[in-house]
């Protein structure tokens, strides 16, 4: 919270659940109960089959690095060059994010590397979902949601 200079999202009635979810350190997606399509960003209907019958569920938080750029121009919320990234969530949808706990270099940022979600408090009301390289965990460890 020492760098309060990101442009903050302003939730709408259709997206409020997502931002309530990140506050509770959960990455919430929506899924159509008719055709099973999982989608993002949030909306109260299925963009695949137009059904209004959709449900919210917690994603695993696991993703892979789909693509990125490393911005060289100074941004008040970042120290030095930083990656703006696209990640493919395990459940299918893609989202924009930043990669944390990782050097912001082409050498460190390898496409398709496994990632897991982190939540960063950027204002009183908003935690942003960011992603970090997956920690090498003991076999069978399923505690990827633990991010503190």
């Amino acid at each position: 919270m020492d760098k309060p200079t990101r442009n903050l999202p302003q939730p709408t009635p259709e997206t409020q659940h997502f931002w309530d979810g990140t506050q509770a350190e959960q990455l919430l997606l929506q899924r159509c109960t008719k055709c099973t399509h999982t989608y993002f960003p949030p909306r109260p209907f299925c963009p695949s089959c137009s059904s209004r019958s959709v449900e919210v569920y917690a994603a695993s938080g696991r993703a892979t690095l789909a693509s990125y750029v490393i911005n060289q121009r100074p941004h008040p919320a970042f120290d030095g060059p930083y990656a703006i990234a696209l990640v493919d969530l395990e459940e299918g949808p893609r989202m924009m994010t930043n990669i944390v706990e990782c050097e912001q270099t082409p050498e460190a940022l390898q496409l398709d590397m496994p990632l897991e979600v982190r939540f960063e408090q950027v204002s009183e009301d908003i935690k942003l979902p960011l992603f970090a390289p997956t920690r090498v965990a003991p076999a069978g460890d399923a505690s990827v949601g633990e991010t503190k």
């Binding site: 997206t15 750029v69 060289q72 941004h75």
Partner: protein, 378 residues
């Protein structure tokens, strides 16, 4: 064929840095030049389309009483969509003579309206917080994916800029005319890895305008008619993160295939190609999504000089957004170059340019419009 022709086409008198004209006057300057080109005045125009400014503002400012108005605004390819909508309006009798204008004080910012992304919009919520700083950090986002999936090298991406500078070196109105090498591109300032300065478009002031009417009136005008053979348009997403496929534009595919089918042409019929190049990867996506190259082969196609002067498929012959000019909504300048090539008066004129295909992009792979022009009505 659509039965509609371009009878007036012009850019602003000056291009580049025009701090002494407001954005609205850039529209008007181009419009007046296009009317002079067609031998018309505002009283002869009964349809108006524009983006960036409201058609109400322009019609009033220029003294036009329209029976048909189009303010479609989907970014830099809006003018391709205006051409397409004007074709339908003229063919159905809603108007006879359409003026399409563009003007943008992209560099000087005189009287320019902004494009804020509201914090409650989807992009404002799900992209802006992660620090993108304009098109150089967003339009470029899919490219590392393309490079990994199809083996494109940094040198190949740089070659796009090199080839377009070759074209620009033949164009006295181009902002940059000195030839450059792949090494020059790769040694230019890094803007957003993997993109260097010379792989990003210019930021300039300028404008352009087109006048369209029915083909059967073409003989009444001083310029040789440029026939509109086919048109296409589509939109995909306002968020680069939500493209269907990071290595392909759905809107390019939909607009391009519709336009080619509408025109009744095959790839072999196309003598001249314009692909809106805000950044160096756009011609690569365009060549593949239009079907001129197989998936993954466009970078080699450009590397082997096929789109360069003397090549089999001359592309972006004005120097493009990378070297000619780019005010923000570049689509109008791509259309102008297609018209010049078909008229036969382009600075870097392609021999026997009978069919020109012009593909535009709007937003960041958000929209597309495609126009096929021809010397004959086909």
């Amino acid at each position: 064929m659509t039965g509609v022709v371009v009878v007036g086409a012009a850019e602003t008198t000056e291009l580049g840095k025009i701090p002494h004209l407001s954005q609205q006057q850039l529209h008007a300057d181009a419009a007046l030049n296009a009317m002079a080109d067609a031998g018309l005045t505002a009283k002869d125009i009964d349809g108006i389309a524009t983006a960036g400014e409201r058609p109400t503002d322009l019609a009033y400012y220029l003294g036009i009483t329209p029976t048909w108005v189009d303010g479609t605004s989907v970014g830099g390819c809006s003018f391709m969509l205006h051409v397409r909508h004007a074709v339908a309006a003229i063919a159905s009798g809603q108007c006879t003579t359409v003026l399409i204008t563009h003007g943008e004080s992209g560099r000087s910012g005189v009287g320019r309206s902004g494009y804020p992304r509201a914090p409650a919009s989807l992009a404002g919520q799900f992209e802006v917080p992660f620090g993108p700083m304009g098109p150089p950090t967003m339009f470029t986002l899919p490219v590392l994916r393309y490079m990994k999936d199809y083996g494109m090298t940094h040198e190949q991406l740089a070659m796009v800029a090199v080839v377009q500078r070759e074209w620009a070196s033949m164009n006295p109105r181009a902002s940059f005319q000195d030839e450059i090498s792949v090494a020059d591109v790769l040694n230019s300032k890094m803007i957003a890895y993997p993109f260097h300065l010379l792989e990003c478009c210019l930021v300039t002031d300028g404008g352009g305008a087109l006048i369209l009417t029915k083909a059967d009136r073409a003989a009444d005008f001083p310029q040789p008619p440029v026939h509109i053979l086919g048109t296409g348009e589509s939109v995909e997403t306002p968020m680069i993160s939500q493209m269907d496929d990071l290595t392909s534009s759905r809107a390019f595919k939909v607009a391009g295939s519709f336009a080619m089918h509408d025109a009744g042409i095959t790839h072999a019929d196309v003598d001249h190609l314009m692909v809106y190049d805000a950044f160096a990867h756009l011609p690569i996506y365009g060549l593949e999504d239009l079907g001129f190259c197989k998936k993954g082969e466009a970078a080699d196609f450009i590397w082997e000089q096929n789109t360069a002067p003397g090549g089999s498929l001359p592309m972006n012959t004005n120097g493009g957004g990378l070297s000619y000019m780019h005010s923000g909504m570049y689509g109008m300048y791509a259309l102008q170059e297609s018209v010049r090539q078909i008229r036969g008066n382009a600075p870097a004129q392609v021999k026997d340019a009978n069919v020109s295909l012009c593909l535009g992009v709007g937003g960041m792979f958000g929209a597309s419009g495609c126009i096929v022009f021809g010397k004959e009505s086909k």
